[in-house]
């Protein structure tokens, strides 16, 4: 068994049918879109879509890590909002606050993630419940903090620069950030012991534990990372909009899950590639974009959005037949 053939088969295996179908659907959407408007295939439009996708991409990265473990993180909405609000809040505390705004926002997300991790890893509460509860607590804290109004603090220059600036002209920074996080994620999943352990736990936690893997630590880290990435997504979104808003995270929970699952990651854990998640994120973003440029009313968009997701899942996201 030489190393090169090993790499090659691993690469081929990563191109499972689900990922290919997802990319096929992306092409199909682009073609359909180009019938509607020529600008659909223009570099400006595509780059714009990539930029919009990046926010979702950052959040979906954390979600994917948790889903690979066979868990789910429903605390995304208010972790996003908490990250954004806390970063903006820190900015109000002088130059030191401004400097630490971004790390502080991310740290708040990690804290929420750690609570999730303790609940799942130590108390063995189903992740669906504990993340729902922390979401409610985070919402409660934020409501108390803001007094129920939209927060008045605004994003720092650094946040705005990350979200809207372009270090290299033409390529938005946020796309770079997603690419960096994505590359790190691919490396972690494929080349590190942590990545192997994540897949192992997702497949069979009992076997992973009996293999001497510290399953609790891995679960804690994954949830903390998910929290941190959600909060970072929130920081970027706040930078994009110049300020945080109460329900800014609501629009990211379902798309994040849908993107991960449409990318071929099994919701039961243990199976999936980051390439698939990238495809899923782009797919969801394009779908949303097409639905909005066709100026369909919100109702029609929701119906099409849900219908298309079900259709695509029925196409390739099904469990094997039992008999």
């Amino acid at each position: 068994m030489t190393q090169t053939t090993g790499r090659k088969t691993r690469f081929i295996r990563s191109l499972d049918p689900a990922v290919l179908t997802a990319f096929g659907c992306i092409l199909l959407l682009l073609v359909l879109g180009s019938f509607y408007s020529r600008s659909f295939l223009s570099p400006e439009y595509l780059l714009q879509q990539l930029k919009v996708a990046s926010f979702l991409g950052v959040i979906a990265t954390g979600m994917m890590l948790v889903i690979l473990l066979g868990q789910i993180d429903l605390s995304v909405p208010w972790t996003v909002a908490t990250g954004a609000m806390m970063a903006c809040a820190a900015a109000a505390y002088g130059p030191l606050g401004t400097t630490l705004a971004i790390p502080f926002g991310i740290l708040c997300g990690i804290a929420i993630g750690l609570v999730n991790g303790v609940g799942v890893a130590y108390l063995r509460i189903p992740s669906m419940i504990v993340t729902l509860a922390t979401n409610a607590v985070a919402q409660g804290v934020m409501v108390v903090y803001t007094g129920g109004f939209s927060p008045q603090d605004s994003a720092t220059t650094a946040m705005r620069y990350l979200a809207t600036g372009a270090l290299i002209p033409g390529i938005p920074n946020v796309v770079f950030i997603w690419a960096l996080i994505g590359a790190a994620m691919v490396f972690i999943l494929r080349r590190t012991g942590f990545g192997r352990a994540v897949y192992g736990i997702g497949n069979r936690e009992r076997a992973a534990y009996l293999s001497g893997i510290n399953t609790r630590r891995i679960v804690m880290i994954a949830f903390a990372a998910s929290g941190g990435l959600s909060a970072f997504g929130g920081v970027l979104l706040a930078g994009y909009a110049s300020k945080a808003a109460q329900s800014m995270g609501d629009a990211y929970l379902l798309p994040a899950i849908a993107a991960v699952v449409l990318g071929g990651t099994s919701i039961l854990g243990g199976r999936g590639t980051y390439l698939g998640t990238v495809a899923g994120v782009i797919l969801i973003t394009l779908l949303q974009s097409i639905l909005s440029v066709t100026q369909m009313p919100e109702a029609g968009r929701q119906i099409t959005y849900g219908g298309v997701i079900i259709f695509m899942l029925l196409l390739y996201g099904r469990a094997p037949p039992s008999r």
Partner: protein, 513 residues
Amino acid sequence: MESGAPLFRMEGISKRYGGVRALENAELSVRAGAIHAVLGENGAGKSTLIKIMAGVVAPDDGRMTLDGKPVEFASPAAANAAGIVSVFQELSLIPELSVADNIIISNPPTRFGMIDRRAQRRLAEEALARAGAEDIHPLALVKDLPLSRKQIVEIAKALARKPRILILDEATSALTAADVSKVFAVLKRLRAEGLALLYISHRMNEIAELADDCTVFRNGSKVASYAAGTRSDTEVIQMMIGREYHSVYPPKPDQPLQAESVLQAQSLSWADRLHDISFSLHAGEIVGLGGLDGQGQRDLLLALFGVLRGLRGRVLVDGRPVRIASPAQARQLGIGMALIPEDRKTEGLMLPMTVRENLSLASLDRLTRAGVIDSAKEDDIIDRVMTLLAIKAGNIDAPVAALSGGNQQKVVIAKWLMRQPRILLLNDPTRGIDVGTKQEIYQLLRRLADEGAAILYYSTDYAELIGCCDRVLVLYDGTVKRELIGADITEHALIASALNIHPAVPTHQEPAQ
């Protein structure tokens, strides 16, 4: 061969799972009022055969007749309707439902569309009584019952369906001796009532006591059918394994090694399952755990490996007391323990993951530098263990699920040998694998012992304990009842002490060597 027309016949039955042949042109015929024993090694196709009979899986090919008329079963319900009911090896009980709910599950009495609980309870009590288990409360939840009681409920559930053909697949493997004799009485009564019974068991003595007809399977096909008592046990075993039985085990060292004790257990107790267990394990020896199944052997292995909470007593490694609170600690450098778990599909392997990933899983800490996997090192060590165990895997980057059962089990063992453990705990590692692989495992264990490993080996197969072990600790009700050394390890001694009978009384004649 038997008197009277067969009640049920299967002919030319074939079934493949993926590329693996489970049954090839198999046949079987069953008559009413008789107990028909089906014998064969694990993997001989017995389970697949009865699953087809019971409508759980569909055959690829072949035909079945009941009362001379061709039949086909689309589901277990269809087979039940035809009067074929199976007591499965894997329990088919619903854990969260009550005993009564489970017994009357397929066809409950109803009133106004709702289940009539009173009538149901009466029926359940009748069925329990027929199965000789009046002591089980019909309202108890199945998940709260011990394994042997569950098995009895399973039999009662089958009886409640008024079967014409009753299939028992290893139905007694989890039972205590007292329960077994009760069940036997029930089965004999059913035979007298005119039922056809199909009985699958590995226990030769049970077959000798019960069976009227026998059929032996090997490699998915029928080898022979004969009336019970017309073949000697040795002949039967040769039919099952298809070759001489002797050369299977490697020779033991003549002189027991007097090395340092590597692992010592001092009065280990846990919950109500382990009581005051003490023993020591030396480098270079294979110590067997014997006794009837479920006497605490598994718990002992898990306790040593740090899985059980609230363990009392002391564990010493190299004479130093250690506290092992998790498998992660048990495998650490100073201890170097490894456990080959009982069920490779749920505890040993991640079936969809690749051979490489599975092999590396227990040694990620050693294969990584600053968290990053060192591929060269990984390939090296994998190459070494793959050669050591002669694992036949076309591609180590293919899912481990694609391997045969024997090779999968080798992967489970190899995964731990990657760490070169000093203390190897094995929990029934040869269950469900072919004879050839078993033989390789026996030889491997001896080789590891010769190289200085200390091995604690639990097996449900007495022949293995006799063939492989230097010493055997016989457990009964969570305590070590007897220690057998060297030539004292015999079938008679094992069985007698397993049943806690003293002095050793020869009970069954079962050829081992």
